[in-house]
Amino acid sequence: MKASRNNYTRYLLPDKMTKKHFMDTLQKCFTINMFETTSETFSILDSFECGLYNQRMMAVRHENNNISLWNEDDLLDPELSLDIENTTVHSRFWWDFPDSSAKEILKDILDLRALSPIYKGLLKTEQFNFQNEEGKILVFCQLISISEPATPRTPVMRQAKLIPVTGYMKEYRQAEELLKELGGFEATLPPLDSLLGAIGVLPQPYTVKPKLNLSASMTARAAANSIILTMMEKQRLTEDGIIDDIDTEFLHHYRVAIRMTRAAIAQLKDVFPEQDVEMLKNRFGALARKTNLLRDLDVFILDKKRYMNLLPESLRSGLSPMFDDFEKSRTSEVKKIARWLSGKTYKNEMTELEALFEHGYSALETEWSEKPTIDLAVNKIQKRYRKIQKAAAKITSDTPDEAIHDIRINCKKLRYLLYFFGSMFKKKQVKVVINHLKSLQDTLGVFNDLTVQGEFLGNYLYELEHKPKKDIMLIASLGGLISSLYSMQRLERDNCIVELAIFSNAENRQLFKETFIQPKEKNMESEK
């Protein structure tokens, strides 16, 4: 019966329970038929962002390297998994997997992220039928045990899932009672959490976007310190992933975190002693610059397919030597960055920087340092928006590209201000503003990427000129690619102008005026 699906209860059983005890107890009422049992080493996989956990799914890599994917309700049920076969231990990205429905799901969830093990252990699943003397199945039971490889005999988790058979509710209750008699208790947490909790895995989803709940009345200096420390922590969390070269998102987020720290320093400069602002910006800037080349290479390599598709078939293979070059440079660059990140110099620098902000930065007061944060927030957000709006008003088809890039940078600064201070204003309106801004930034971002990529390839071409051996096909392909990127960039520029006009129209001006204001105390509270 369709309605009977997913009716089941889970019981956590005591670790010390023996199989004999289990069988003896259940045999009081049932004939037990064990029809399947598997035992293997396995690992639970997820991305650094806990993408699967967030989607209430679980992935497991089996001993034979195949991967199984489950929805929360079907966890570890061998009959209900979506499987990916023919994989190796090196298959970590969705694009590494052969076509399957599981691959499609992973594609949406993982995007550029790699799957990594978050737990390794031994998994044993046993399936039982509880029957009557006539061999009629009355209750299905799945026993799942997970143990540490070092102590295979004492599981860290043992869970029985009882699945009812339509029309045999009385027997089902009987089985439940017997499990309780064994010392089992019903798992009340959602299946995924109770399983992960029992084996001591606590997923901590990572996102580079800060969740800051700064209070409007705290001092501006304290707010700035808190923002910077939060971003530095996010930066540090990505280091291991970069060193182990898990996926390219670690470096990307490393850089975003630094960018936000620098934005906080630059935009909130009035809270710091004047002579320190440049110094701080430079120190963080130096960290980011170290990784510029690796990031550029990552972006190109990730986009390889797209570049190939921009060219006619005959020119595609011409690009291969360039990508081979990129791969080679990337390999050495990853090593270089990993050495640097694990090195003393870097670690000392980070410790020093962290210490600066942990202790309230400086005793030296500035004009803004002791004012309430809300004053600083309103002032900075309004100023930044006016700046964008004024610049946008001047844009025509003749405006040089640089002016558009400047606006893009200003939009980014505004976006960061909203990340930092957004929680102090009315939630709904801030969301509208962010959506508008996001759409504008997306367009500006595409325009910028096309420009940067065109320049990067232009430089690569220029360097080829000085090499003794020239590969004509590569040069032709590069030419094709650069001109293709250029015409796309021109088209995108027009889109930018349209989006900018929308963002600075009367309606949006009004929205900013109304949203980012000093709230009256009472209103503030009720809105929250």
Binding site: M1, K2, A3, S4, E134, K136, I137, T166, Y168
Partner: protein
């Protein structure tokens, strides 16, 4: 939801064997399936190791959905449920007689299950009475096992005549040969003649086999314990033929 009846006026022609194995094949193919054992002897319930229900007031059987749901039992196979036989089914006729719309009661009752099942298979008792008429109204397809003998041919003709006289849709009737013996010349000839005369015969022929006979010992559909054998496979091809018709 589709309803298929396994029906014949004559007894011992392989109705229950067909019901049980078609239900099994349907569930295996991913259909949420209910086998309704309308035969008070409860043979199909027995094959699924389910005892007959205690005698009770059958009046509820035709009137209340929740009463009906309470009697459904899961089988040993996924997606396959059984509504077991009830000894009081013997009195269906008398009971139906006393009800309004007495020929459409079964149809109404089963349609209340349309969200629960993709396919309902009715294993019918060998009669031609008010319950049978309920079956003819309810079923999208009336599957008739015919042993290739003269006597069976006669009962099949009786059924056609009954449909004609009572304005039932004859298109619903799809016979197939059952318990056919490969070495029996008379069987061969009858199959040839009848197929010519009645093009509605399904192509699948279920042969007489000891494996099928042994269902009573195994208490399982023959497809579950001897699925590799050719004469057993024909239940699966029969199911595929039915799917194409539905």
């Amino acid at each position: 939801m589709k309803i298929v009846a396994s029906y014949s006026i004559k007894g011992g022609v392989g109705k229950t064997a067909a019901s049980v194995n078609l239900a099994y094949a349907a569930a295996k193919a991913g259909n949420e399936t209910l086998l309704v054992d309308l035969d008070p002897q409860g043979a199909s319930s027995f094959y699924f190791r389910i005892g007959a229900r205690k005698k009770e007031n059958t009046g509820n059987f035709f009137s209340k959905k929740h009463r009906l749901l309470k009697h459904i039992k899961g089988s040993n196979y996924k997606q396959l449920d059984i509504l077991p036989a009830n000894l009081s089914f013997r009195n269906f006729d008398i009971m139906l007689n006393n009800m309004s719309k007495s020929k459409k009661r079964l149809k109404e009752m089963l349609s209340s299950l349309k969200n629960e099942y993709d396919l309902i298979i009715l294993d019918c008792p060998p009669n031609l009475n008010l319950l049978s008429e309920n079956v003819f109204n309810a079923a999208d397809l009336v599957l008739v096992p015919v042993i290739p003998t003269t006597l069976s041919e006669r009962t099949f003709e009786q059924l056609l005549t009954f449909f004609d006289r009572n304005d039932y849709k004859k298109k619903k009737i799809r016979p197939f040969f059952s318990m056919a013996q490969g070495k029996n010349k008379l069987h061969h000839q009858t199959i040839k003649d009848m197929e010519k005369k009645y093009p509605v015969f399904l192509k699948s022929v279920i042969a007489f086999s000891a494996d099928i006979e042994r269902m009573g010992i195994h208490r399982e559909p023959v497809l579950a314990y001897a699925s590799q054998k050719n004469h057993v496979q024909s239940y699966r091809t029969l199911f595929n033929e039915i799917v194409n018709i539905l």
